[in-house]
Symmetry: C2
Subunit: 346 residues, 2 copies
């Protein structure tokens, strides 16, 4: 606990170490009354975004700095990732994404063509989802002071009802909308120089076309929603288990994952539950409608949507706040949230 | 015009080259209908922020990546600069700042104490101005891939009436709220290693306490407002002259500037009009009330507020869109917007 002497890679990895540093560096320093405004959601939620109530609606706002390396990877690039990630952050709070602003910082000496492709991809994803680009910033740092580029995006959405993680209850079913760990696995492969040999493609994509109709039809039954990026499913579910003061029990055999992703990560000794997704939502759903939600998701194109587990009151109180994975052969292990296995995943 | 082969320092400097790259890389690529939403202000304005109309009010949103080097400089640091700059962006659009979100990217190996000080300064400035911190992001890049830290801030404000630069008319008086060029001069001195010898302090500060009462009393008479950061007064006034299709004539002897700043920049051959301010507003004001506005500003603590010039229809059409400076001995020169003299000014 507390602050380490220096900030290290692990403190940006989405695991427990990151949350400790954020708590100590930021959250604990902001006076309580300055953590939110106007009946909205603020810093206390540690959520993907924040919300401000204006009249009858919530304005939902997200911010995310994207540092992915390599900038071009199988399945996307810095620009498409930044657009998809920001759109998904808004959707996970129950908002319809309407606008975005981007701040790009570029290393001097970067070919204009590189930046052109990134920005074009950003614009293509945003406009294909009906999101306007209403402003931005552009800075250049001297050669050698930044490795190529960082893109920070603010997403702006409108919600009538917010989805907040604190509503999770015992009995809720845990649903994922598609195969996990593909983005992280693609980046690990690329950073290790395996992209030519191992054909793993990032799942990076906006979830608008799945999530907006789902919210419309089942919004009030969705107790929590998150895109499990840095830290993967393990980090998201551990947070949820903590917030519900319960256990989340998942069955490994029900978690959708592509064979090549699973094999590649197994070879490296990495648990896919700790690996980032960028085009998957995990939902906590009222058990009454969980099967219907999965059917609806499949009909919307998320063919591999699946109920992977549920929220339970553990017999042993030491398991409160923990995620328990039932293995393929029936054993049970506690899943610990861990930092991303490589830096600059997203 | 058009895109250069590589992005270079000059393209982030706030001068003509930057606007050409932004036009070519971003603005020209976003389809017209995706440049704004809901009766607000969007990409077309190239303003400090954007606005979305919701019910009876505008939600004003700014984004800015701060890359200043050194991170600690006389008069402030990355965190206080990011907070002040974001607050000022909102004020210049006529909005009351209410909330902010920050995304911090840190180089691995940076002492926690450095980051602690930056974040504490950010929180101190924001909360002293009544601005809540409602969310954020935290990333770490490997040692050697980023020079220390970048902080990106999204500011959120509420406005009943927006100030938009396109309202400037011939006859409007140009008012500055205080001495210019201090931030840029302090950073240049620090980057050159002169901070010990030359006592120039950045003017970086939030303008809330001056601008909110001024907007309350004279809001409808303020035709345009801007904090002249990168590119300095020259860039802001040239943009305004273009948007009004007129000339802006300023008198050098009326522009407030501290003697040490003026001498230091003169020694380096740098025109203070091209040097960034971070705690000064420049306003275009209805001539009927310009003297009253200056009096009000002085009573609010901006003791060196001054009318420095006015918007005129030039006799020679070639002077449309130009800024003309009357020199101390009565000559007239055209002021060209130029990139900041050193990188990482803000």
């Amino acid at each position: 606990m507390g602050l380490p002497k220096v900030i290290d890679i692990v403190h940006g990895g989405g695991g427990r170490e990151m949350w400790e540093v954020i708590e100590s560096l930021v959250v604990s320093r902001v006076p309580e009354k300055f953590k939110r405004v106007m009946g909205g959601i603020g810093l206390e939620s540690l959520d993907d975004g924040a919300a401000i109530r204006i009249g009858d609606v919530y304005v939902v706002i997200s911010i995310d700095s994207f540092t992915v390396k390599p900038i071009f990877f199988p399945g996307g690039n810095l620009g498409s990732l930044a657009a998809s990630g920001s759109i998904n952050d808004l959707l996970m709070m129950g908002a319809k994404p309407i606008a975005a602003m981007d701040a790009l910082v570029v290393e001097a000496g970067t070919p204009s063509e590189t930046i052109e492709k990134i920005i074009q991809s950003f614009i293509d994803v945003m406009t294909s989802e009906g999101v306007a680009i209403i402003g931005g910033d552009f800075k250049v740092m001297p050669h050698g002071q930044l490795d190529t580029a960082i893109m920070t995006v603010t997403g702006i959405g409108i919600a009538e009802h917010l989805i907040v993680d604190t509503n999770i209850r015992v009995g809720d079913k845990i649903v994922v909308t598609g195969p996990i760990a593909e983005h992280g696995a693609a980046i690990i492969a690329a950073q290790m120089g395996y992209s030519d040999k191992i054909k793993i493609v990032s799942d990076s994509k906006p979830l608008t076309k799945i999530m907006l109709p789902l919210l419309e039809k089942y919004g009030k039954y969705i107790r929590a929603a998150r895109d499990p990026t840095r830290g993967g499913l393990a980090a998201t579910l551990t947070e949820w288990a903590s917030s519900a003061n319960a256990s989340i029990v998942i069955e490994r055999c029900r978690i959708p994952i592509k064979q090549e992703v699973s094999h590649f990560l197994e070879m490296l000794g990495i648990d896919p539950l700790n690996v980032a997704c960028e085009g998957v939502a995990v939902l906590a759903v009222d058990p009454e409608v969980a099967d219907d939600v999965v059917k609806e998701l499949r009909s919307l194109g998320a063919q591999e949507a699946e109920i992977i587990g549920e929220v339970r009151t553990p017999k042993n109180p030491v398991l409160r706040g923990k995620v328990i994975a039932i293995t393929e052969i029936g054993g049970a292990t506690i899943v610990e949230p861990q930092a991303a296995p490589v830096p600059r995943i997203c």
